[in-house]
Symmetry: C2
Subunit: 264 residues, 2 copies
Amino acid sequence: MSEYLQREAPSEMHIGFLDAEVLDPLHRDSAPPAGVAHKANCSSCAMRAICMGGNLNDADRSRLDTVIHNWRMVRRGEALYRAGDAFQSIYALRSGSFKTVVSHQNGCEQVSGFFLTGETLGLDGICTERHACDAIALEDSAVCVIPFHLLEALCREIRSLQQHVHRMLSSEIVRESGVMLLLASLCADQRVAAFLLNISARQHARGYSRSELTLRMTREEIGSYLGMKLETVSRTLSRFQRDGLIDVKGKRVTLLDLDALDRI
Amino acid sequence: MSEYLQREAPSEMHIGFLDAEVLDPLHRDSAPPAGVAHKANCSSCAMRAICMGGNLNDADRSRLDTVIHNWRMVRRGEALYRAGDAFQSIYALRSGSFKTVVSHQNGCEQVSGFFLTGETLGLDGICTERHACDAIALEDSAVCVIPFHLLEALCREIRSLQQHVHRMLSSEIVRESGVMLLLASLCADQRVAAFLLNISARQHARGYSRSELTLRMTREEIGSYLGMKLETVSRTLSRFQRDGLIDVKGKRVTLLDLDALDRI
DNA sequence: CGCTATGTTGAAGCTACTCAAGTGGCGTGG
DNA sequence: CCACGCCACTTGAGTAGCTTCAACATAGCG
């Protein structure tokens, strides 16, 4: 199951983090919607090994600092960007989590992705210079702002950075085709199992627990993402619990039998 | 409906075509699986305006010629590449059509995309240096071979080419999220209508008829792509015909009422 | 502490699937 | 040229699984 929703390991995916110690999520200057800028610095960032995959040398990394020098707070429920907004930057998620929502004129909406700490948002905007979806914070979050035209310029000079950006784009394509496979050919049980294992794997890759999940999104959002109704998500989780596969306490889910989930 | 499966206009998507007059699909040198190389030349290609969106000047276009100098025939049913193959090149589809198939260890397979003349294949391979899916020709087809590391090198020198590649990657991301939306939230009727309108729009963008479609893929392949069974595809097409929306004669489908299809 | 959100569970209904039979088109070989 | 077989496609009947509708429980927040 797990492979369906795979996202690349963080080393492949992410660019430009702040140092964890530097971050203050409750920073009183942060006025979320307007997105007040804060100073960022990749060279001193504790996450830099994960973020750039150790590809860059010190000289190149300090050049990256000239590009990624701001970060933004986004409060729970607020949008980092909305569909139709002019595309300027991509965003590295420093802390928190987001959902992306694709909308349709007739009012129907679908959650097209969940983004956890260390992942990159906004790649959808490159092709048309406008964002194609809304990105909404699931909790108070912080993102590094990466102005894309500056990143492009740097990519023309630093080959390993160029490769990193290409891989990041390509892995988003591969991730989405995994979701397509899931939506087109798995039943409800398999979708939910795949979802849980995927969140687990992504957390684990960042050093968090493999089995203790805190699902920041609602059942309805999970259902939207997985192409099913919230009642079905809820029923499926209950059944998994009855079968001893997981333990559910509202948004806190413990995976008790990873192998069995994978075999569903 | 149509927007769900949208692909970017050709000017956004494609790189490096041969001149139509130069192409000989029955060229006797072509030994498909091995992929015997033929000479390609973008500068003299009739499609170059569409392919590069007129972005490049003559000097830059002849530099592109040094990168894209081969093309390959692929016979119906044969693979351009397979999942797991080492990634070397991306491919501009000069003539013909392909499906891409994502596979899973337990034997389940899903069609993840259809590619028509003028579209680009192989972007999934960048992130892992291995292709993530099989690309199978739906008819005898010809592709321009674009060695990716050479394209990357050229992108570091030609800004407009770099932008083009980034947009191409991003629009594949946006296309896939459209399919996700379709799979997660549309009923069978809407999926089939969206599929027909999408093929129509892509043909039309290349100067072909908007209403006369020749579906090179089987009902089973359509069903796999749309997340439904072949019988349901067939039934839906039959009902559309009964309702006067389309005319079906096996693989030849005529769209009689585009607006009504869009309103489904 | 009460209100609203979110989540759980049950029963009925409908969509799309499964299984099965039959049709039509195309290429091969007599 | 026609008969044959193969494959793709069509159509029907019965069914499984998910959705819908509804009632109720719980948690989070002011």
